[in-house]
Symmetry: C2
Subunit: 301 residues, 2 copies
């Protein structure tokens, strides 16, 4: 990361992963003046970006340039570890891998070790925000990694997020925080669902309960947005699908278990999501978890 590299890095960026968050992030980077070399496992998704000026490449390694930057946002730990193989890390050399996927802190540390062997750096940068927030450049980014690397990637973050929170130099820290946040999000859904079932079976529409609470003592995005989903029983289309959030909950469980932290609410959330999958509802949004409490109470939403 010498001065010359930093200069070029703010211009051209490798980009891997055009999922529900990746695509709007890539579009905002293009609109913000970055040149992108884009790779996506499913090639069709990249086609639209080409017309917006992106260079579409055929493999992860082709997104990397020596001393440059690659931003990856893929579905799970396995995907990130597969793409960031020795060849990829060597190609990126002394550059920076901005790792936005929700993965375990262990995976972030392993990723950082791989890049370090070639003089490279990892900035863990998981994000909070649903696809519509990504489109609106309203993401919140949690970062961890070396101070110099975080400084170098700031122009990227400024183009796609409304704020950045720094959790220090230990590269796994931001991932720990992201997992905790997703756990809290899911716990809020379950709590709202149990409360909603309770009031409805006592004659009060869940909309009356949730509209009151989310305009007063629970007037924050998680309760407002997921509360709306529960009120309207809007489980499709999935902005954040059940298989993806269940993956996250399993990461929380492993991270907690390794550190010897019992999390009783977490365990019941995992069972709720397993039930959703057992019923073939893989296509539902995370808010679909609310159906568990409702159905257990004999309600149909």
């Amino acid at each position: 990361m010498d001065g010359r590299d930093t200069g070029s890095m703010t211009k051209t960026l490798g980009f891997i992963g055009l999922g529900k968050l990746g695509l709007p992030i890539a579009e905002n980077l293009l609109a913000g003046g970055f040149a992108l070399r884009v790779y996506n496992r499913t090639a069709e998704k990249a086609a639209g970006l080409a017309s917006q000026g992106a260079t579409v490449v055929k493999s992860p390694v082709e997104t990397a340039a020596a001393g440059g930057m690659v931003l990856s946002i893929v579905s799970d730990d396995r995907a990130i570890l597969e793409l960031a193989n020795d060849e990829f890390c060597q190609e990126l050399g002394s550059g920076i891998h901005i790792s936005m996927s929700t993965v375990s802190p262990v995976t972030s540390r392993l990723l950082a070790e791989r890049h370090a062997r070639f003089g490279g750096h990892v900035v863990a940068a998981p994000v909070f925000g649903r696809p519509e927030a990504a489109t609106a450049k309203k993401l919140w980014i949690c970062t961890s990694g070396s101070a110099a690397a975080k400084k170098a990637v700031k122009p990227v973050f400024d183009t796609i997020a409304q704020g950045v929170f720094d959790f220090g130099e230990e590269v796994g820290a931001a991932n720990v925080v992201k997992l905790a946040g997703n756990f809290l999000l899911t716990a809020a859904i379950e709590a709202m669902a149990e409360a909603s079932a309770m009031v409805e079976k006592n004659g009060v529409p869940r909309a009356d309960l949730l509209n009151m609470l989310t305009s007063t003592i629970f007037n924050c995005p998680i309760y407002v947005n997921y509360g709306k989903g529960i009120i309207n029983a809007q489980f499709e289309p999935a902005g954040f699908s059940i298989p993806l959030i269940l993956k996250d909950m399993h990461l929380v469980q492993k991270t907690a278990s390794d550190a010897r932290v019992p999390m009783p609410i977490l365990n019941l959330l995992i069972d709720r999501y397993l039930t959703m999958l057992a019923k073939g509802l893989d296509r539902y949004d995370a808010v679909g978890l609310a159906l568990g409490a409702a159905e257990d109470a004999g309600l149909r939403w």
Copy 2:
């Protein structure tokens, strides 16, 4: 409730219960121009109000005047049913009993039946807000009861609250909503505690997690205020003590159970509070529940 009664009702009010919420509410009513006839089980607490112009009486029944209004805010269902005996209901006659206590919907309905026998009305009016919110006239009031009675008590509510939410004419409805809200509040504490224990044992201070989340996707009073309590391990003095909130959780449990609504998070919250009492921590605030997840993870907060 004829015109004459309504006129006098906006001036003089019976007031029962000078607890952590009752006292600031009574003070705000006095400051707002209401004359109060005050009763409290512990007489000393009423003395200070006398110097602010209240008339202190020696029994609940003396707070009531025919066709007038009495506001009660006492600790539990038993207390409200004991004070609102036949003599009290007869004395109040065609007046209105504003019942602010957190009690079960069943108790509200029973109370309304008692008053109805003497031509009187009950407005259920449980409130959301800690003592400091009561002092600042920042309470949120949930109401249910007859439309005419709710209209008549509006000047009282306008003097002490920042907003009123109406849940219809079935008198127990507001109580159902209040119980659901207190459950959600407690569930939020447990979820934050589990998440905090998880991050801390993975090297991230709980303050870093909670400060980030409560300034972004969880930036609402419940998470901000109880998050602060968890960060600072501030469990005393209790604004909302553990025995009181455990009482509320048992009311939620009974209300849910009667309506056949399983609430798995609720059950673990009750166990957490029971453990607090088992350890002799009755004096702690509701936020003390957070210690359960911390101690189970081998942490000392």
